[in-house]
């Protein structure tokens, strides 16, 4: 059965450099002495540590979580003692250190009690999602978005197709390919669990056709499984076919509208490694504490894939793979097209670390002016006009960049790759995006400040009025005190007024005073007499 494929605009045929790290089997990385686990390894709210320094933890034990919806808990990758919770260098484009839990491992690698599930088909979608959440699973393709959210279609949303992304379109990276080769059954089990969680009709596993071994392994495993809902689809090797929206287009022909999610076109898309992690979490009860990492590049002696505990310092991985340590080398986390340079190699492997690419820094070529040749436009998978975006970003004409749909740019780097003038185009787009975000934050802040300022002015105004009122009253009082005659006359006038009023009141018969009982009449008389004495008293007072 041939699956009909579609094309997305542009894209590149890149030299894939994958074979070099595919020769050896995946080897487990030896247990490091110290594990450094950042509290933020996912998109969403940062986790709060639920352990304290000095505490002993077991492998797989929960060590940090958050109450926020968009978050993923974190577990101890091995048994040992918490020695610190402090800021440590982490792999982040900003190069800033971040809060981490540091575990001194005890070498026993002692598991906490796990709750495996022999027959997940008995579990409801809600339970499955809950367990995926509790296992701390995030998108392992690189984005790190909490997976249980993407397994929650939402009210009224029907999932037609579950897509497993095994494209792995970036050059050099082979961790997904190795996973599909080494553990095809787990990937397929993950697919089945996810199918149940989102109640999808069928599942397409898209794998670029430069990974024939992985495709064969999956197909072999699928035959044994005999699940006709799942289909393995080899797709053409075109970068960036592994981009979520690009892959959806290729496999289903559907174009996800910009401001919507894949779910809005009836598709849910997960990475194959995420699927395997889901299978491990549901069937064996294991949380996400390790992953495959490709260590490769021209500066690596023995490029291969390692199974690495989260929290392992990157430096130890490079040593394990015989990295050449000469000047002008740099280590990139991720691939050469979308990765970023890790400044401090003490930074740990986190859930989204798929590849360490160790190579010489590219020769910096002077950028020439744009000659508007349009190569960038021809390769742009978002069908943007990169040359126009560049022009306006460079001029800091941020409104124009948004006219030209800056935020549809997925920063895949195709434009910069082909640019004959060697202009770092993506850099300009990131710059423009950051500027726009900053501007919006600034606007929010200034709106807030303006409101506060207006309130402040109002308060001042009110206070001023109140003060003046008070002063006026005071002045009046003072004036009265200063002229006692006036005061006396006022009092006389007021008394006259009261007398007049009393007379008027007496002339008008009260309506509810007829037909009274004797007791009521007595009460009223008592009140009246009291009133009389009172008014006489006050009259006397006033008279003084």
């Amino acid at each position: 059965m041939i699956h009909k494929l579609n094309r997305f605009h542009g894209g590149l045929h890149l030299p894939d450099h994958k074979a070099v790290s595919m020769q050896a089997q995946v080897t487990p990385q030896p247990l490091p002495k110290q594990l450094v686990i950042p509290l933020q390894q996912h998109i969403g709210a940062i986790d709060e540590p639920s352990v304290n320094p000095g505490e002993r933890v077991l492998k797989g034990q929960l060590i940090a979580r958050s109450d926020a919806h968009v978050s993923a808990p974190i577990h101890a990758p091995s048994s040992g003692t918490i020695v610190a919770i402090e800021a440590r260098p982490v792999a982040h484009p900003s190069g800033m250190p971040a809060a981490c839990i540091v575990i001194e491992t005890d070498g026993k690698d002692e598991w906490t009690t796990l709750t495996p599930c022999a027959d997940y088909t008995q579990l409801s979608p809600e339970t499955l999602r809950q367990r995926v959440h509790e296992a701390g699973i995030v998108g392992l393709g690189g984005a790190g978005f909490p997976s249980f959210i993407k397994l929650t279609p939402g009210i009224g949303k029907v999932v037609e197709t579950l897509i497993l992304n095994g494209a792995e379109c970036e050059p050099y990276i082979t961790c997904d390919a190795m996973l599909m080769q080494a553990r095809p059954d787990t990937v397929l089990q993950g697919a089945q669990i996810m199918l149940q969680a989102v109640q999808a009709r069928h599942c397409l596993i898209g794998v670029e056709d430069n990974k024939p071994t992985a495709i064969a392994a999956l197909q072999h495993a699928l035959q044994a499984l005999n699940d006709d809902r799942i289909r393995i689809v080899p797709i053409p090797t075109i970068y960036p076919t592994g981009g979520e929206r690009q892959l959806i287009k290729v496999l289903t022909g559907k174009e996800t509208p910009t401001h919507k999610l894949p779910i809005d076109v009836g598709v849910v898309c997960h990475n194959v490694a995420t699927a395997a992690a889901v299978a491990d979490a549901i069937i064996e009860g294991k949380p996400l504490i390790s992953r495959y990492v490709t260590v490769t590049g021209a500066g690596i002696g023995q490029a291969h894939n390692l199974e690495v505990l989260i929290g392992t310092p990157m430096q130890t991985l490079l040593e394990e793979c015989a990295a050449r340590n000469v000047p002008d080398m740099q280590t990139i986390m991720g691939g050469p097209m979308m990765g970023f340079v890790v400044e401090d190699l003490q930074a740990p492997v986190i859930k989204t670390t798929n590849c360490l690419l160790h190579q010489t820094k590219p020769q910096s070529q002077a950028a020439l002016p744009c000659i508007r040749c349009g190569e960038c436009m021809r390769v742009c998978p978002a069908q943007l006009l990169p040359q126009q975006l560049y022009w306006h970003a460079r001029a800091k004409d941020l409104d124009k960049t948004q006219d030209y749909k800056l935020f549809d740019c997925i920063e895949c780097g195709c434009c910069a790759y082909v640019c004959p003038s060697h202009i770092p185009l993506v850099h300009y787009y990131r710059f423009a995006k950051t500027e726009i975000w900053a501007r919006e934050r600034e606007k929010l802040k200034s709106d807030h400040a303006r409101e506060r300022h207006e309130f402040h002015l109002q308060r001042l105004e009110r206070k001023k009025q109140e003060d003046e009122e008070r002063k006026r009253k005071k002045r009046e009082l003072l004036q009265r005190a200063e002229s006692p005659d006036d005061n006396k006359q006022d009092a006389i006038a007021a008394a006259l007024e009261r007398v007049k009023a009393k007379k008027a009141a007496q002339q008008v018969a009260p309506q509810n005073t007829e037909n009274l009982t004797t007791a009521q009449q007595a009460k009223i008389d008592a009140i009246e007499s009291r009133r009389k004495t009172l008014s006489n008293d006050s009259g006397q007072d006033e008279g003084q």
Binding site: P171, I371, A382, H422
Partner: protein, 345 residues
């Protein structure tokens, strides 16, 4: 402009460069230029040399004045392409100052006064050509006939004329030069003859188009197709230019074949192929969106025809290019491609 790359992704790039692009354009001009020299003599080479030297000198002087790196600008090849295109547009038998003036004007005024490479709104070679045509119409319209019609000046004789303005003893400029085929057709049509009569009776015509011109155009077509195959240019602009020119001439020819020449005549005359494949496709000054390029090219083809047939100039390519250059920002703005995820199916 930053001079070094910031250290951010992508960390790899294709081996493309501006100079490679320009070099391919220069290669593609070779067949047409050879045909040009074969039919119209050595003048082209002399003009090319003068224009090229002037352009490179002007480029380096400006870069020095602007305190910018000079060598990359000389080697990016863009000044070279400008100079060569201008030389191809100038009559082969021309005084030395003609290509020099045009080339200097192209680089200094049309290119660098607007900010240099990538910033000039008008095609520099065509600005240079237009300036020369307006300032020195006599020199610019005095084409020498192909060698079949008695152009037998040797290289040294041509060089002599270029440098000091002297011709062999028994020859005068008026005797040697004549109007170009396009010019001839236009002036003859005013004398109440028909196109077919003119093509048959006037010696500059081969029966289909001007002698030599058809070959020059075919050779530029060949170079242009090579550029297409090497993906230096896309098909949009050249095809649209030739289609616009072809549609206009076909329409007129079908209405009155006595007074209007065939599409083939127009395609193979003047600077049609050079314009369609080499001048209109200058990336800096042309439209950049695919649909915009079609509009740009088609309008250019129509304008070339209108200026050729009803205008006062021998050919319409230069003015059509310059007029369309003005329309580029507008055309580009209204022909943006649909961005992925915006209003698709």
């Amino acid at each position: 402009m930053t001079s070094t790359l910031p250290n951010s992704s992508p960390y790899t790039s294709a081996p493309a460069s501006v100079s490679r692009v320009m070099l391919k354009v220069i290669y593609a001009m070779i067949p047409g230029s050879i045909a040009h020299v074969y039919f119209f003599g050595w003048g082209l080479l002399i003009n090319m040399t003068i224009a090229l030297m002037t352009a490179l000198l002007a480029e380096s002087v400006v870069m020095q004045l602007r305190k910018r790196p000079t060598l990359p600008a000389l080697f990016d090849g863009s000044a070279t392409v400008t100079a060569l295109l201008l030389a191809l547009a100038i009559p082969p038998l021309a005084p030395w100052w003609l290509p020099m003036l045009g080339s200097a004007f192209a680089i200094l005024v049309a290119k660098h006064l607007y900010g240099g490479l990538g910033f000039n709104p008008f095609n520099p070679a065509m600005v240079g050509y237009a300036m020369l045509l307006i300032a020195f119409p006599q020199n610019m319209t005095a084409w020498i006939p192909p060698h079949e019609l008695g152009n037998t000046l040797s290289f040294m004789q041509t060089l002599d004329y270029s440098m000091v303005g002297t011709l062999p003893a028994n020859q005068t400029l008026d005797a040697i030069t004549m109007a170009s085929p396009l010019d001839t057709l236009k002036t003859q049509l005013m004398l109440d003859t028909t196109v077919s009569q003119i093509l048959l009776t006037k010696p500059v015509f081969s029966g289909m188009a001007g002698i030599g011109w058809e070959w020059v155009n075919l050779m530029f077509l060949l170079g242009g197709i090579w550029l297409l195959l090497r993906r230096v240019i896309t098909w949009h602009i050249p095809v649209a230019v030739l289609a616009g020119l072809g549609a206009m001439s076909a329409l007129a020819w079908l209405i009155d074949s006595n007074h209007f020449a065939t599409p083939v005549f127009h395609w193979l005359s003047g600077a049609s192929m050079l314009g369609a494949f080499f001048i209109a496709t200058d990336p800096v000054t042309a439209c950049t969106t695919p649909r915009g390029q079609l509009v740009y090219g088609a309008l250019m083809g129509v304008l070339i025809y209108i200026i050729r047939v009803w205008g006062g100039y021998p050919d319409g390519v230069a003015f059509a290019v310059l007029l369309l250059n003005m329309a580029v920002p507008t055309i580009d703005y209204y022909t943006q491609p649909r961005v992925f995820g915006h209003g698709g199916k």
